[in-house]
């Protein structure tokens, strides 16, 4: 069991990292750097940190701040997928809208770690042609514009990408 002193030090580091991130965020959003507005920024960051501290007392499980490096590997691939399926759906729109074969299917996601399931569901919704309707336990309900997109999902191309980057759940 970690001593209380060690724990509080870790707390301070955590708060400091948050303060740094929030300051950068505020500075990038503001763009006007005179003393009055900067002091407003400092006050608002302080208030957010105060709220954060209190919320983390309630929330027992601390969320780790990732570096986002893995996300940088994932996003370009996702944009490529979005482009590919957008072109597919656009072809359907201009060509023959009656050719659609709407399908509802359940997809097993027990391979994906729990904190990455939202990412998976959001990626499915973000790619045109597939839409995540429900997420319950280990099952994802997906609505697809065409049956072929469901088989593509079941083959696990996107799933493998996520488990390849973030690892499988035990």
């Amino acid at each position: 069991m970690p001593s209380i002193e060690k724990k509080s030090r870790r707390n301070y580091i955590h708060i400091a990292i948050w303060a740094l991130i929030l300051s950068i965020f505020w500075l990038l959003l503001s763009g006007i750097y005179n003393p009055l507005l900067l002091s407003f920024g400092a006050v608002s960051i302080f208030v957010v940190l105060l709220v954060l501290r209190r919320i983390e007392d309630v929330d027992k499980k601390r969320q780790h701040l990732g570096t986002g490096l893995r996300l940088i590997r994932y996003i370009p691939w996702l944009i490529g997928q979005i482009l590919k399926s957008s072109i597919h759906v656009t072809k359907l729109i201009w060509g023959s809208p009656s050719k659609v074969s709407p399908t509802l299917a359940k997809i097993n996601i027990s391979n994906i770690p729990p904190n990455k399931r939202v990412l998976y569901a959001n990626s499915i919704t973000l790619t045109p042609g597939t839409l995540c309707v429900d997420l319950k336990g280990d099952e994802l309900t997906v609505h697809a514009l065409q049956k072929s997109s469901i088989t593509e999902l079941e083959e696990g191309y996107m799933e493998n990408k996520i488990t390849g980057i973030w690892g499988k759940s035990e």
């Binding site: 656009t90 729109i93 709407p102 509802l104 919704t125 597939t130 839409l131 995540c132």
Partner: protein, 109 residues
């Protein structure tokens, strides 16, 4: 700068084209769920292309960062909104197209 302008206008025009296609699909597709797929073309690719085109128009200063923030937030919020809409429609009892066809056949017999 000239090359950047050309790339930017190509991205913007492509974005506008996809946005328009999404709007058209919204009218052409048969039911609620399929129409959501058409709307998601506007949601995802059109936003990405237009924002990338706009980023190339900036002089790579603080405005670029702001546009990147907008892009990041839209990538999170738009699928969340679509999911909320689809989930509430499903839980409200709206049937998909094949299900309604089955139901109509049952009624005719």
């Amino acid at each position: 700068m000239f090359i950047l302008d050309i790339i930017s206008s190509v991205l913007l025009i492509a974005g506008v084209f996809f946005g328009f296609s999404g709007a058209l699909g919204l009218f052409k597709f048969p039911d609620f769920f399929t129409r959501m797929h058409a709307a998601s073309v506007t949601d995802s690719i059109a936003t990405i292309l237009i924002l990338l085109g706009l980023i190339l128009q900036t002089s790579f200063d603080i405005n670029t960062a702001k546009l990147l923030f907008i892009l990041a937030f839209l990538m999170i919020t738009s699928p969340t909104a679509s999911h909320a809409l689809a989930k509430s429609a499903r839980h409200g009892g709206l049937l998909t197209l094949p299900e309604t066809q089955v139901k109509q056949q049952e009624r005719t017999y």
